[in-house]
């Protein structure tokens, strides 16, 4: 079966890490990477892998009609413009910025419900790391309140994240409710400058109505195994703790080390989620076309 051709907007850390992951995909083929900086290492890496690259931004990408899916790793503001252009061109957008144009999506949790929309948003790294756990707990018993704390190494937090840190807290908190199913959500992010850099760490606290400890642990452990299918470095630090009506789950995310070092699990989980969502979209596109033929 032919692979679905995809494009990447953004030749920075995330775009480049994503490219290296896409090159391993069995159903997606990266056809072009576009950025805005002609000297960026990301564009050079793309060329060295035989992938077309341009510093002319989205304008260079749009004429490639065979590109069906575009991953946008530029920024929230540029994505607002890109989203319109991509939709007009009939290209599906997978948005790795906090622009939140399309619905919030987490692989395995709710991707199946959003395969027919032109634009999908991947929330935040903290969201990708914690929402599935809240969702898994909520499958056993209703979560009245979910609170997550993400600690990331200072080196892995770029200037975009830093200047818009409120977007992380707001977007993550909202998606804990909308996607995770919590009645109320709260998110906290802490940057830690320790050297060598810390691995991404997430703590998920959930207040539940009926603390059925064994079932909660089972549900969380099954979810962790599923996530390991696309993020191999995702693991429970300890057995989930159920203390009264409070559930505490601690997760460490070690990055795959494709382009970014392994401490950048926060970026790895975003690019891995993007590939997982892209592959689902590709399956849908292929199925539709097979049905037409």
């Amino acid at each position: 079966m032919d692979k679905i051709k995809v494009g990447i907007i953004g030749s920075g850390n995330i775009g480049t890490d994503l490219l290296l992951k896409l090159l391993r995909s069995e159903s997606l083929e990266p056809a072009m990477v576009v950025g805005v900086d002609p000297d960026s290492e990301g564009l050079a890496i793309a060329r060295s892998k035989g992938v077309a690259a341009s510093a002319d931004g989205i304008d260079a990408l749009l004429p490639n009609e065979d590109i069906r899916i575009v991953f946008d790793a530029s920024g929230a503001k540029p994505h607002l413009r890109h989203a319109k252009l991509l939709e007009k061109a009939g290209m599906l957008a997978v948005d790795l910025t906090p622009a939140a144009v399309g619905p919030f999506v987490v692989p395995y949790v709710n991707v199946q419900a959003h395969l027919d929309v032109p634009n999908i948003n991947l929330i935040t790294c903290g969201g990708q790391a914690t929402i599935p756990i809240v969702w898994a707990i909520n499958q056993v018993c209703p979560v009245s309140y979910a609170e997550i704390v993400s600690s990331v190494s200072s080196r892995s937090a770029g200037i975009g994240t830093r200047q818009n840190i409120d977007e992380f807290t707001h977007t993550t908190a909202r998606s804990l409710e909308q996607v995770g199913g919590a009645k109320r959500g709260k998110a906290i992010i802490v940057l830690n400058p320790a050297e060598p850099p810390i691995m991404m760490r997430n703590t998920i606290f959930a207040l539940v109505d009926e603390p059925r400890a064994d079932e909660i642990r089972g549900s969380v452990e099954r979810m962790v195994e599923q996530i390991q299918g696309y993020v191999p470095g995702y693991r429970l630090k300890h057995r989930p703790d159920v203390d009264g009506n409070k559930v505490t789950v601690q997760i460490q995310v070690t990055g795959a080390g494709d382009y970014l070092p392994s401490y950048a699990g926060n970026l790895d989980i975003m690019t891995a989620a993007a590939v997982a969502v892209g592959e689902e979209l590709a399956r849908t596109l292929t199925a539709k076309e097979t049905a037409v033929q």
Partner: protein, 336 residues
């Protein structure tokens, strides 16, 4: 002539850690009224971890910040009321919501190396006409040049002052002095100092900072605050008066608020116990104290061992969840 020193009271913010954020509306009003009548310049009121800090991670506030701020603003006549905000915990929305209570000072705090997460919050507070006092927390964790560079960023965003914040109570007097002097030399704005008393140096370090040029200094009544507490404000004011630094505070009135209103509220002695001393010795965030004691009890460990390990891992402010992680790991190792 010696400069006038502005006194910032943090009983109703940092002090809230000592009682696990359990202030009532009436207690806030009574303390704020007393501080105002005693002539304190600035009264800081917020959850111990700032606006938006009420959480499982840091402890839920018994009284929401807006209720506390409303109660205080109704009784405070002369002092300015301040709020604290830690970007990553609280947001610009929280700051906007607080301004309906006549808040004239915003304190924006980041870890000593992460100043550039505060640009938008500083900008917003300035736009709303507030005085902005910025905190470089866990100051001992960065070398002086790095720290000054971070302070310059805050100055460029619009800060009116930058504080050396000794969150772990780990600085010695010569270090407090050198850090404040470096900021004085590198900045055009005011410099402040916020002490913790984990090594018994709260008041002494504050005096060293003032001698090096700090003109804003924090303290709290009866020393209430994270870890072994802040510089005890009554003692600090007495020391400043003996050293001939004008500060506008009526010492007797201040002492009365501390003894008659604050002391009955306290649920534990604000002393340098073994765990608090370990905070200063290991360089760990002072507010970890009570959370660590709870984790030590739950997992059958010595709080000091947990704190030493957190120091080795270079935990920063706000990472209370690392306490449970470290405790669980240590318990697994010893087979509890």
């Amino acid at each position: 002539m010696k400069p006038r020193i502005r006194i910032v009271d943090s009983t109703l913010r940092d002090g809230s850690h000592s009682i696990s954020h359990q202030y009532t509306e009436e207690q806030v009003a009574a303390i704020a009224r007393g501080l105002d009548q005693a002539g304190v310049d600035i009264i800081e009121i917020s959850h111990g971890d700032g606006l938006g800090g009420s959480s499982i991670q840091y402890g839920f506030d018994r009284t929401p910040d807006e209720v506390k701020l409303r109660a205080a603003s109704a009784v405070v006549k002369h002092s300015k009321i301040a709020v604290l905000l830690l970007p990553g915990v609280g947001t610009k929305e929280d700051l906007k919501a607080a301004t309906e209570f006549n808040i004239r000072v915003a304190r924006i705090a980041t870890h000593v190396t992460e100043a550039n997460i505060s640009e938008q919050h500083i900008g917003l507070a300035k736009k709303m006409g507030m005085e902005v006092l910025c905190f470089l927390m866990m100051n001992h964790m960065a070398d002086i040049d790095t720290m000054v560079g971070q302070a310059k960023l805050m100055e460029s965003y619009g800060a009116d002052a930058v504080y050396v914040v000794d969150s772990a109570g780990a600085l010695l007097p010569n270090e407090a002095r050198d850090r404040v002097a470096a900021l004085k030399a590198g900045l055009r704005i005011e410099v402040g100092f916020h002490a913790h008393n984990n090594l018994g140096l709260g008041v002494g370090n504050s005096l060293a900072a003032i001698e090096a040029g700090a003109t804003l200094v924090d303290g709290s009544l009866r020393g209430m605050g994270g870890g072994a507490g802040n510089a005890m404000l009554e003692a600090l004011v007495a020391v400043l008066q003996k050293a001939n630094y004008e500060n506008g505070v009526d010492l007797y009135k201040l002492m009365d608020v501390g003894e008659q209103i604050v002391r009955p509220i306290m649920t534990r002695a604000q002393e340098i116990d073994n765990a608090s001393l370990t905070l200063g010795f290991a360089g760990v965030y002072s507010t970890f104290l009570l959370h660590t004691e709870r984790a030590a009890k739950k997992y059958g460990l010595d709080a000091r061992d947990i704190l030493m390990e957190l120091g080795r891992r270079k935990a920063v402010g706000g990472q209370e969840d690392w306490i449970i992680d470290v405790a669980a790991e240590m318990a697994e190792q010893v087979g509890h």
